[in-house]
Assembly symmetry: C2
Homo-oligomer: 357 residues x 2
């Protein structure tokens, strides 16, 4: 049974503006002191589970050069370029079709975001190995849930049946949208909810079976494409058919409707690096709770994150602020408003300031 | 009776870092939309009171070129270059000696800081004309007090005798150091206190009389210098003797000890532009209380001052923050900590980062 990996690398990472830009989004940046980019870390931590030759990257055409540059170990033919952004269902389906064609029906796919961080790689590998055991039977779809440590309102949750499990994976009752704080507190204290991490394990044939069942018109379009994989007409078909597919997430399109969904709780120090707040979680802070890099003088400043650029940054009397300096833009943001960085981007789009996006 | 003006332009303006720098301090900057520098405004508003030929500038040697450039109407021989910074008593005494030598004992001096703003120039001129009337008799020393509008703790106060006045000027009882907030509130509600503005009106002979009386050793040193005024040996004497003088403020050295001190309340829209907070007082703010110049995108930001530079500044969720961008440094400061900008400068000094000072 072949284990393959599919890394989703088409995201825009808008909440990491101004570092993350349209032409170099978050997954291609390093946010840790070791200088390794997030996508490179993602590939590296798979080394215990699968070979680089069996790892696929699905990304946007304009990031191909970044993928080639940062992931020289991945064969170029394993890098799939989406002609248009259509959310996760089409790109996972396309990768599944290609993998099934190349490795057969039993091939297992580890589907992974490219822009998350994981602290304990060995535990991560153990969890995925366990997930593979569950995924190889029936058309089981396994999603890796993260044991919640606080009532986060920015994530979706997975409600599971605590009494119904196989090989350590619980049967999923339902997927729940981002809750309000009261609901989130209930979920966390109930012990029957996990965070939805966007990491999945299944056989290629299982997810294709489910896409065919729940989004049949998408399956038809995808089949036209992956049937030509390995032929000279592949690129042409991909470029014609893919943009015709509807935009749909795998969560909404398949996971919320399918049966045989299992979740395996992960406790491997996962961080989705979802906003600038992540930096203080993944990097050491000083005695005042500040996470500072670059040329910075801080006076009476606490709980503040400063990512310096080429000029001196002086902070005086700041509390709970994030400062990120780049060559052409500087962000100064209250920590409780980091989600609103997207509004800056909206404003820049409206004003056609594409060089800043 | 000749009316002369002495403009004190040797200050460093540290609280206006990073705009104000050692080689171009605050008085030589424009902080208003008309682009006029503070020192130029100071000279301009004197036009009703005195002639440019009778206006003297006391400044540091390294600012001579800025004075010549920004104040071409002032004769170069009226620009006095301090060989060393010795606070206000020596430089006022030196100017007084020169003025007395040039214009005689009755010449009146208007002593004015170079870095304040005044909204109502005609009222300012009226107040000074009134002060001249008081100053011409006896050895009266007149200080312009500002009617306090709120209990500021950053200024010194003048306590005056409400029942004892001549020509609208009240007899000064005492000068009071910067008070705490409780004291400041008492002062404001009593109606017997004014802010000490650092503007003085007196005859050259009156202030020299008082310097001689209260700081005799300083008078001796000064006399050696101004006795040579107009001679070829002046520069040499100045450069030798001036650095030997002790550093002393005119307030502490003379005003707190002398008799015949009067204060005239000024209500001409005075602002000492003492910190970055001044910008929102002297420039219009928008509906959210923001004072913004430059390329700025602000999201959910209020009561915030942003002085943009060459790059985009995006602010998200800020409240009561000051942001000032320059080519080599950016300041981000809580509004209630603007006085602590000096601590940034101390830090830069300790680290020998002179290019940033």
């Amino acid at each position: 049974m072949k284990i393959t990996a599919v890394i989703l690398a088409g995201g825009r990472g808008e909440r990491f503006w101004p570092k993350s830009r349209t032409d170099c989004p978050k997954q291609f940046l390093s946010l840790t002191s070791d200088g390794e980019t997030l996508i490179r870390k993602t590939v590296n931590r798979l080394s215990e589970l699968t070979d680089a030759e069996d790892t696929f990257i699905v990304t946007n055409e304009k990031y191909l050069h970044l993928v080639y540059e940062q992931l020289p170990m991945i064969p170029k033919e394993n890098v799939i370029s989406e002609p248009a952004a259509r959310n996760t269902a089409p790109c996972i389906g396309l990768a599944a079709g290609i993998i099934q064609k190349k490795y057969g029906e039993d091939a297992v796919m580890l589907v992974l975001p490219s822009d998350h961080l994981i602290k304990f790689n060995a535990m991560f590998a153990d969890t995925l190995r366990q997930a593979v055991k569950v995924a190889k039977d029936n058309e089981n779809l396994v999603t890796i849930g993260i044991t919640p440590t606080y009532p986060e309102t920015g994530y979706g949750y997975i409600n599971f049946a605590a009494n119904e499990y196989i090989n350590g994976a619980y049967k999923v009752i339902s997927f729940v949208e981002k809750p309000n704080i009261e609901k989130a507190k209930e979920y966390v204290s109930s012990g029957e909810y996990l965070w939805n991490s966007g990491m999945f394990v299944w056989k290629a044939s299982s997810i294709l079976y489910n896409i065919r069942k729940h989004i049949p018109e998408m399956y038809e379009g995808l089949a036209k494409i992956f049937d030509t994989f390995g032929d000279s007409g592949f690129d042409k078909t991909l470029n014609y058919e893919y943009p015709l597919l509807k935009s749909e997430s795998i969560d909404f399109g398949v996971m919320e409707k399918a049966e045989n969904i299992y979740t395996l709780p992960g406790n491997f120090g996962w961080d989705d690096v979802g906003s600038w707040l992540a930096l203080e979680r993944i990097n050491p802070t000083n005695d005042y709770g500040n996470m500072i890099t670059g040329d910075v003088v801080s006076v009476e400043t606490k709980n503040t994150t400063v990512i310096g650029g080429k000029k001196l940054i002086a902070t005086v009397g700041l509390d709970n602020i994030v400062v990120v300096d780049t060559d052409d833009a500087i962000l100064i943001c209250a920590k409780d408003k980091t989600q609103d960085v997207k509004k800056v981007i909206e404003n820049l789009k409206i004003c056609n300031r594409s060089t800043l996006l």
